[in-house]
């Protein structure tokens, strides 16, 4: 297993899907079966190696980069192929490979229009490489490339397989197709952030003379980046990551993108893509610029609680189920950002587990919403109702997942929320107690609002008698592909809730050592 530990293992996790996608290009468009099995196989191989990495991971030394390598790549600019994972990357890496595999399983029999499984699967596999790559990259250029790599497939996924209905936008005279509007908005928004992020990366390179994240972090801990320079660089990185998270008020691309995206697109977007932003904060912005992070932390905390309350209130006004879930992501990522802003081991570990939990829970919610739309051909909650009666298993799963989403203790969502609040009662020394404790109280109120809109959604969609328009309709309950994709998610929701060590066992030590180095 020498080869595995020397970088090959991680490279396999990252690039198998890419190779799979390239091979898929050669498969004739009509041969859907081959395409599906090939995609499933490559995603499976990727997940397999990710799991092997988890098993071989040295948890006693979770703070160190493992399975890493550093090869010359673009010597002209001093960028290397430097990869490696620590206890923070590991859960994210496994999560992304896991969700990709489940997405392919789910897609098996649920192709959004205009069909074309080959193209769809190629996009999923491209996404897989981009997502996994972001979590293993230890070089800023490499990170940036992977970070941007996810943009295009998602753009096409929304733009081609997205919602074709027309919407009227304020400020526009003509109606536009939802999918076009959403995909463009998504792309431009993210690109806007990325441009600043790249500027930040370059600035770091000019000052530090390296693109290597560990080396820069060491310089940051030694206090090499200070003054206006560091403040501006952090601002640039902040913009790049905050758009992706998304933080209030940069969130407006999210509801549109989620609403328009095909089911699997929404799932991948919610489960993994949003995490790239918060992961960037933990991996890059904070370790490299710790003193600046301290200056920015109260602002981040305030924006985070605004997101929590704002997202929840906006949810209460929704009529579209997918849009509601999308807004709930704004609130949940608010908790993640609140945890990060405390700059304490408690808060950041909470953020890591919150990220994973949000990934599985919201991913599951989007799967369910997508399947419901598939059956009812509407997302309008006023027309739904009595879902639990028409489809008991699907309705039961929706109820369960909504409970998980509202942060029910014993399920995955609880730890991230509660521990983030706990962290904000006692943030890093030197941060304003007043701001953070106020944030804690508002965040706690946010949990009630969260419970409110989710229960309200359940009441509208799941409970009551079915509407008359569905009389005589035959609804088939959860089919076997859906079952195969969902049951693993449900199990992980319970498992993480009951035994959070699955995540914290690796993450906590890694976060601790990160914080020890930085502060």
């Amino acid at each position: 297993m020498e080869w595995f530990d020397n970088g090959w293992g991680l490279s396999l996790v990252v690039f198998t899907p890419l190779v799979g996608a390239l091979v898929l290009l050669a498969v004739p468009k009509k041969d859907e079966e081959t395409a599906k099995w090939l995609a499933l196989f490559t995603a499976g191989v990727s997940l397999f190696f990710a799991v092997v990495a988890a098993f071989r991971f040295d948890f006693g030394d979770a703070g160190a980069l493992q399975f890493g390598t550093k090869l010359d790549w673009i010597p002209a600019i001093g960028s290397n192929y430097e990869i490696g994972i620590d206890g923070i990357s590991l859960p994210m890496l496994v999560l992304s490979a896991f969700i990709v595999l489940l997405s392919i399983v789910y897609s098996w029999d649920h192709w959004p229009e205009p069909h074309n499984p080959k193209g769809f699967l190629i996009l999923i596999l491209f996404l897989a490489t981009g997502m996994a790559g972001t979590f293993v990259a230890q070089d800023l250029v490499l990170f940036f490339i992977f970070f941007e790599l996810v943009l295009l497939p998602m753009y096409f996924m929304i733009g081609i397989w997205g919602d074709k209905s027309k919407i009227k936008l304020p400020g526009f005279n003509k109606e536009v197709e939802t999918r076009l509007y959403a995909s463009i908005k998504f792309f431009l928004f993210t690109l806007f952030g990325s441009a600043f992020m790249l500027l930040g990366f370059l600035a770091l390179n000019f000052r530090g003379g390296s693109f290597s994240i560990p080396e820069l972090a060491q310089m940051g801990a030694d206090g090499q980046f200070t003054g206006t320079f560091a403040f501006l660089v952090f601002g640039a990185l902040f913009l790049g990551f905050a758009v992706k998270v998304p933080m209030w008020p940069l969130h407006t691309w999210l509801p549109d993108a989620h609403t328009a995206a095909p089911t699997v697109g929404s799932v991948l977007l919610a489960a993994i893509l949003l995490k790239l932003g918060s992961y960037g904060f933990i991996r890059i912005a904070i370790p490299i610029l710790p003193q600046e992070a301290k200056q920015w932390a109260p602002a981040i905390a305030i924006l985070a609680v605004i997101a929590i309350v704002y997202g929840s209130l906006a949810c209460l006004a929704q009529t579209d189920m997918k849009r509601l879930i999308a807004f709930s992501s704004v609130g949940h990522m608010g908790f993640v950002m609140l945890g990060i802003s405390t700059l304490t081991p408690v808060g950041i570990t909470a953020a890591v587990i919150g990220m994973v939990a949000h990934g599985v829970i919201t991913g599951m919610l989007f799967f369910l919403a997508g399947s419901m739309q598939h059956r009812y051909h509407t997302r309008d909650m006023a027309r739904l109702g009595g879902n639990l009666k028409l489809m008991p298993i699907l309705g039961g799963m929706l109820g369960f997942t909504a409970m998980a989403s509202l942060g029910l203790p014993g399920l995955a969502g609880f730890w991230g929320e509660f521990m983030a609040l706990l962290g904000s009662y006692q943030p890093l020394e030197g941060l304003s107690l007043g701001v953070f404790r106020t944030a804690m109280v508002i965040g706690a109120i946010g949990t009630v609002l969260t419970a409110g809109y989710l229960l309200w959604m359940l009441q509208k969609v799941n409970l009551g008698e079915p509407k008359e328009e569905w009389d005589g309709h035959e609804f088939h309950d959860v089919d076997r592909y859906e079952m195969a994709a969902w049951v693993p998610l449900l199990i992980s929701i319970v498992a993480i809730g009951v035994f959070p060590k699955i995540i914290t066992g690796a993450a906590n030590d890694a976060v601790q050592s990160l914080m020890d180095k930085a502060f």
């Binding site: 209130l313 408690v346 730890w415 309200w456 409970l463 009551g464 060590k501």
Partner: protein, 682 residues
Amino acid sequence: MVMSSLLAGPAILAAETSEAVHHSDGGVLAAGAWLIVLVPFLAALAIMLFGKRLPRRGAELAVAAVGFVAIYGTVLLLTTWFGDGIVYEGAVKIGQFGGFEIEWAWVVDGLSIMMFFVVGVVSTACFVYAVGYMEGDIRPTAFFASFTLFAGAMLMLVSAANLIQLLIGWELVGVSSYLLIGHYWEQKENSSAGMKAFLVNKIADIGLMIGIIIAAVTVGSFTISTIMEKVVESDAALDDVAVVIAVLLFIGAMGKSAQFPFHVWLPDAMAGPTPVSALMHAATMVTAGVYLTARMFPLFEHMAHEALTLALVIGTITLVIAGLLAIVQNDIKRVLAYSTLSQLGYMVAAMGAGAYTAGLFHLFTHAFFKSLLFLGAGSVIHAVHSNNMTDMGGLRKAMPRTFWTFIIGSAALAGLPPMAGFFSKDEILASFNEGGYPIVLALGVITAFITAFYMTRAVSLTFFGEYKGHGHPHESPAIMTVPMLGLAGAAAVVGFLNVPGITSSFYNLVTTRLVPHELLGEHATSFDFTALALGLTAGVLGIIIGYRLYFPDAATQEERDRLRIPVLWPLLENKYYIDDLYMNGIVNPIKGPVARFINWTNSYIFDFVVNMVGVSTRGLGRFVYGGLDQRGIDLAINQAGAGTGYLGSKLRYIQTGKVQQYAAALFGGALVLVIGFWISIT
């Protein structure tokens, strides 16, 4: 290689069992007490997955699970009673956040054993009963799964050795109550009632959550025994925030125990099936707040007397207003629901008065007789298919077992000797008296009277006179009446566990804890005869007046009453006077305007506020979404896009397509450059 490493597994994921923190005795029995929590959860899961394929749709698994808990609890109870007293804490580490260890930890001490026993026994009775009651229900499997989860969540709450597990159990109780209250979710009222319960609890849980956070950060651990150590040491850091912590925790307790002003959810929770109400009102859920206060009592007692005073005030308000409300109800379950509120007020007020044992003892006895009463009510409802007491009457002959057990329960609730409620209520009143709270004592006594009064009314309307409903009611099947008989037996005898000056078994039980006895309040060693007389008088008086008012053929009863009570002649002497006074000066006003007013405030002030908060929050949500998000932020984004397009549309006129114009521009540009160079050179 890969396979072997896969089989070995990541070592870190193995759960570390920490050493049992404290050993007294109990051995395997206490160390294995985690089974009490695990078995119901596993049963709930199994029912959900396989229940539909079982002959009784999962009910058998549910009964087996709680039966196991009841037996385990009883064995533990007997062991600790006849042994030296078990105090044990076991823990399994399940995670770590920074310096905070997260553990599944179970505490086995007198307090938790008492709760294991109560929850186990009462649940078993309710579950067995439910097997009969839910016969033919549309969703028995879902019901029994949620019901088992409900019991399991409560057991997790009471077994928790740390605050975070307590919070987990706490919220799971909330969510399973949501499922059970909304069991008939086809009707919107029912699902709304479930939501109301969940959300009101959730609001109060903000207090609990923040209280736990402050306590954990101050002490550096979630473990309750660690916090208690700091309390005993009079730790300065904890002392600074103790009042805040205690008040916040108590706010959480107010939610679960439905104390004023959080009491609004409980009457609506009647929407669930009757066995749920029985369990919810007796052993689980509403007792959680009292249990939390008891668990953290040393903190309150030693460092946060202000919070105890708050508890006393809140408890007193609740017991009075809820008691009054019970009088005007026609729904038999609502009468019982308000009486639960009122009794919870007693428990909380007792805690507030520093009477740890008295509060818990009332919790203990109340669990038996209140579940009995609900089961009886359910039996009646099952027979007449109506909740309304005006549809009942004369059921005494048709349903003899239900009648007699109901009578025992009512007597216990009314505080009649030798029923259990007599002893526990007396002890509470005594604690008010000894603590020097005359107003509270007075209100407690008045409420005792009210309690007896409305129970007499309920009994009279339900079981006596002519039957006013439809069909021919029959006695319920044995599967329903046997649990009632069992509970009736318990309601009759458990009071003797703690007779001041004679036995102190219960006191010894609930003070078998790690904390020193002096932090667990005073214990009465003899009867407080003032309180005893007051309480008993109130109870008897209540029954008499209720009887006088509501018993059929009251006129002839009146004569008999006058003959029958010569023993208490001073009272008899004032009988008519009191009667008239009550009729014209108290009962009518209370029954009429005052109770109606209280009922009105309940509906038009508290409910109204709750509803308005909901409605206005939705409105705010609409505004934030429609006004700010869509018309504010989104508009700006869209305008930025449109602006770029506009600029382009204007600038494109430069592209004339005329080559000569381009060339002219080119040469002009070259000229500018040349001139620029010229100037820069010279």
